[in-house]
């Protein structure tokens, strides 16, 4: 066979220059947009009222192997730190006990968010038509697997090396018992994966990641470090390096629908709903974990919230999207009010229901009470006095026979669950903006704590039918519920949850709870 002209040219070229040649990632990536083709059935399996443009580009132009190289380098640094120096200095046993407990919740709940984001970005990968946009979402699918594993690694590390493994070692089984779980599932699980694909992207990328990962994954590292925890900054800051790609994906989602007529009709409503959905849980829960789950305080939550949520996200990030018709959510103003008091309201309820947790909670010390009062004037009269009363009645002591939940009952302060957010609230004893609204539908009563959630429910009640813990456990005795949910330590009787982190304090058992005879009731039934 004759040598073609091209072969001759290649041979000639080699005679002149034999410099090694390779192929870079960008040289491959630039062809990516042409990898797809049109065919009759080529449409997404997840409907959306928006049209995502066919020529949308991505900002992080990675190919599969380059993605792996980049992540592998980060993994080497992160796991090297954890397994080498932090282990040698026994770092897990130099973390303040209060923070050790907070990480049972923070790490596991973030893991749920990361896990569901795998599915969420799988849906977006399916929904997008442009190969580059698909590729951006694909990178995120893999990132979310990474983050799921990383969050798990925190609990794994603390369980293996730390001072109290219970709760770290079985969070995936015991987390479902208590009042914080269902709300967490709304924001971190179903809110990401169930709905219009673009609406889910707004929930996940435009709000969850661009707004709340900053306080959740960045600010938390300052609190962790102050309280002796260097494992969390090591892992979470490595996670955050990927979050930039996810924020870019959210930005590109908006870019891809910007010219679609549906965007001008629906985008700001979807954004407002997504923001309220996410803030309704994160604002109180993060504030509670930081302030009540730490000994050493970095700054008041309201300041952190204001910086990251109100100014950075509501102002700068949303401002950048202004040219695409995106406006700051109408509910941002109400959220700002929540940032001041909602976490204090929630801790009061969370502490009252402490036996249903998979972590230990601690009442504020006198020193902390001073800090709260200085930063939230009026705190003592509303909350501090109550904690003093609970402590005086022996709420930390298993022999007292007193659960703070009794205080709510005695004082006729019923606790309700907001149907849409699944966040508990006590309308008659709260400084936040919660107000009780009750609606009846198909023979069932539903309680709501704010107008934004109520509006969502009124539009589509079939999306928010989930039972709450009071409906689920109605008529059940508390110790039975805890035992059924595996809320006990390896001795089979001592609770994982405890109302203190004192090293000298006695630990509560199932029998201590049983003696009290606490039976769940659905407050809506008495209305």
């Amino acid at each position: 066979m004759a040598i073609s002209a091209a072969t001759k040219a290649a041979t000639d070229a080699l005679a002149v220059n034999r410099a090694p040649v390779s192929v870079g990632a960008q040289e491959v990536h630039r062809w990516l947009q042409s990898f797809t083709w049109d065919f009759d059935k080529n449409r997404t399996k997840y409907s959306t009222k928006y049209h995502m443009a066919n020529d949308t580009k991505e900002q992080f132009k990675l190919i599969a192997k380059e993605y792996a190289r980049m992540e592998s380098v980060k993994d080497e640094r992160q796991f090297g730190s954890l397994q080498d120096v932090l282990t040698r200095v026994d770092a897990a046993n130099r973390v303040h006990p209060k923070w050790n407990e907070s990480m049972k919740v923070i790490s596991n709940f973030l893991e749920v968010g990361e896990y569901n984001a795998i599915a969420a970005t799988g849906m977006l990968w399916d929904s997008a038509t442009a190969p580059e946009q698909k590729n951006g979402y694909l990178g995120q699918v893999l990132d979310e697997i990474r983050h799921t594993n990383q969050c798990g690694y925190i609990n794994y590390y603390f369980a293996k090396q730390g001072q109290d493994a219970a709760g770290h070692n079985d969070a995936r089984r015991t987390r479902a018992i208590g009042p914080l779980w269902k709300g967490m599932k709304r924001v971190f699980s179903d809110g990401f994966i169930s709905g219009d694909a673009v609406e889910c992207s707004i929930n996940l990328q435009l709000v969850g990641e661009a707004c709340f990962t900053n306080p959740l994954i960045v600010a938390v590292t300052e609190w962790a470090s102050a309280n002796g925890d260097e494992m969390t900054p090591t892992v979470f800051l490595s996670i955050e390096t990927d979050e930039l790609r996810h924020m870019a994906n959210g930005y590109q989602t908006v870019v891809s629908i910007a010219n679609d007529e549906a965007a001008s009709k629906y985008l700001n409503t979807d954004l407002n709903n997504a923001f309220w959905t996410q803030q309704k849980y994160f604002t109180p829960v993060l504030g509670m974990m930081f302030e009540y789950g730490s000994h050493f305080k970095v700054e008041p939550w309201v300041k952190t919230w204001n910086r990251w949520v109100y100014e950075d996200w509501g102002g700068i990030w949303i401002g950048r999207l202004g040219k695409y018709g995106v406006e700051s959510p109408a509910s941002l103003r109400d959220a700002k009010k929540d940032a001041y008091w909602a976490h204090h309201d929630l801790f009061l309820i969370a502490y009252a229901l402490w036996p249903t947790g998979f972590f230990r909670l601690t009442l504020p010390t006198a020193e902390e009470a001073e800090w709260y009062e200085a930063n939230y004037p009026g705190w003592y009269d509303m909350y501090g006095k109550v904690y003093e009363e609970w402590r005086a009645r022996g709420c930390e002591d298993p022999n007292s026979g007193f659960l703070p939940l009794q205080w709510f009952i005695e004082n006729n302060h019923p606790i309700y669950i907001d149907r849409v957010s699944q966040v508990p609230f006590c309308p008659s004893y709260s400084k936040g903006a919660s107000t009780l609204r009750v609606l009846e539908f198909n023979g069932k009563k539903h309680s709501f704590s704010d107008q934004w959630g109520e509006r969502m429910w009124l539009s589509e009640p079939e999306r928010y039918e989930c039972q709450n813990i009071f409906e689920q456990y109605e008529g059940r005795e508390l110790s039975e519920v805890i035992a059924e949910g595996h809320g006990v330590r390896s001795d089979g009787k001592t609770l994982i949850a405890q109302p203190h982190t004192s090293k000298d304090g006695k630990l509560w058992t199932l029998d201590d709870i049983k003696k009290i005879g606490c039976v769940f009731a659905d407050p809506l039934k008495s209305l």
Partner: protein, 392 residues
């Protein structure tokens, strides 16, 4: 000391803070059970790191078998469709959390392997180019087969890659979801490697067309990949059941069509045409195929086919799906036979007898590894005969 910490002081290293922390820590650990996920059933004797980090990360309620949560979904699709549901697949399982990647790859292990492959690819390509290997490639093989037909095969891999998107969204278990995403990434990696090879050749061979225009035209309009394209389109977007997508792609189409094209055509023939570049890339694809085979056989054979409650039913369904997807795949192979008329025949290598032998290897492997474990009766000789009827 004050409880307010500012200026980036760290509890681990600041003596004042550290003293307070150490004073608060219990004298002995409060819990003796230090094994995370101690409650789960491991695949082997002990819970390994992969199982610790992956199993039960999914928060599904107990009415999706294997779930540890309770109750309903907190938000559903418009109209009330649930977030995840048993109705998303015709397959049944007593525990959707049972699957394991046989290599126990969690994310860090997965990307570590691929990162090494990327670095080695870079080193290989530099050595290959500096050594002047490209001079030895047969020009027809290089310009037409690699340029056009290998390029067109990239679309098959890209289409299969996309078939994993809805399976990643809809599947019902955590280890399943992670495995599906990973084997999906391997497929787009294959498509990208094919383009990388074509781009590399364009750098070395003046006039070599690295554009995807001709391959795409071949894939969408040509006769050689017609059956393959129609099958891939149906797997990717015509099928909604996530298990059927995986079964069609990884238990029928890829072990037959993919294996023949990669292993018995490009890999086996390339050296006869002076091409020792293509085997470098195809061998990576074959590694991924082998790993994926382990993953999907675990899903379908190790877990679903022997499920204590639904094993018989699942096997029947797999047989039905085989009936559905095998003829399409055979048809894809039949169309692909047209490629042999595009290359110079080498006796004993690309003549009819050699092609028949190659088909025999692929079908025998498939029968042994995929059909026999589910009791699927198949006349491979007849299937090969049908495929060979496509030879021009």
């Amino acid at each position: 000391m004050s409880i307010v910490v500012s200026g980036g002081r760290r509890g681990l290293t600041d003596p004042e803070i550290s003293k307070v922390i150490l004073a608060a820590i219990p004298d002995k650990p409060l819990e003796t059970q230090r094994k995370m996920n101690y409650f789960m059933t491991p695949r082997g004797k002990r819970i390994n790191e992969y199982e610790t980090l992956c199993c039960y990360t999914q928060p599904t309620p107990d009415w999706i078998p294997g779930g540890l949560d309770w109750g309903d979904w907190t938000q559903k699709f418009h109209g009330g469709r649930p977030s995840w549901s048993n109705e998303s697949t015709e397959m049944h399982s007593s525990d959707w959390h049972r699957h394991r990647d046989p290599a126990f790859r969690w994310h860090a292990l997965y990307v570590k392997d691929k990162a090494e492959e990327w670095r080695y690819t870079d080193r290989f390509l530099k050595a290959y180019s500096a050594d002047g290997h490209v001079r030895s490639i047969d020009p027809v093989w290089r310009d037409e087969v690699l340029g056009d037909y290998l390029g067109a095969f990239g679309f098959s891999e890209y289409g299969l890659f996309n078939s994993h998107s809805s399976a990643t969204r809809d599947c019902l278990g955590d280890t399943l979801r992670m495995s599906i995403a990973m084997i999906g990434l391997d497929k787009v990696d294959n498509a990208q490697m094919i383009q990388a090879e074509r781009t590399f050749l364009a750098k070395l061979v003046p006039g070599f067309d690295e554009s995807t225009d001709v391959p795409k035209n071949e894939w969408t309009q040509g006769s050689i990949y017609k059956g393959a394209r129609e099958t891939v389109e149906e797997i990717w977007q015509g099928t909604y059941d996530w298990n059927e997508i995986l079964f069609a792609g990884h238990m029928i189409y890829d072990p037959l069509f993919g294996q023949f094209v990669r292993r018995e055509f490009f890999l086996r023939l390339s050296s006869y045409y002076g091409d020792n570049l293509t085997p470098f890339f195809i061998n990576q694809m074959q590694l991924y195929h082998s790993q994926t085979k382990g993953v999907t056989k675990d899903m379908f054979h190790t877990c679903l086919a022997v499920d204590e409650n639904f094993g018989d039913y699942n096997v029947s369904l797999m047989n039905m799906w085989s009936d559905k997807w095998l003829p399409r795949t055979v048809n894809a192979l039949k169309d692909f036979m047209g490629i042999f008329s595009k290359i110079p025949t080498i006796a004993g290598v690309s003549d009819k007898a050699a092609i028949e032998a190659a088909l025999g290897r692929v079908f025998d492997d498939w029968q042994r590894d995929y059909a026999d474990p589910i009791g699927y009766k198949v006349d491979t000789a007849a299937l090969i005969k049908t495929v060979l009827s496509g030879l021009k």
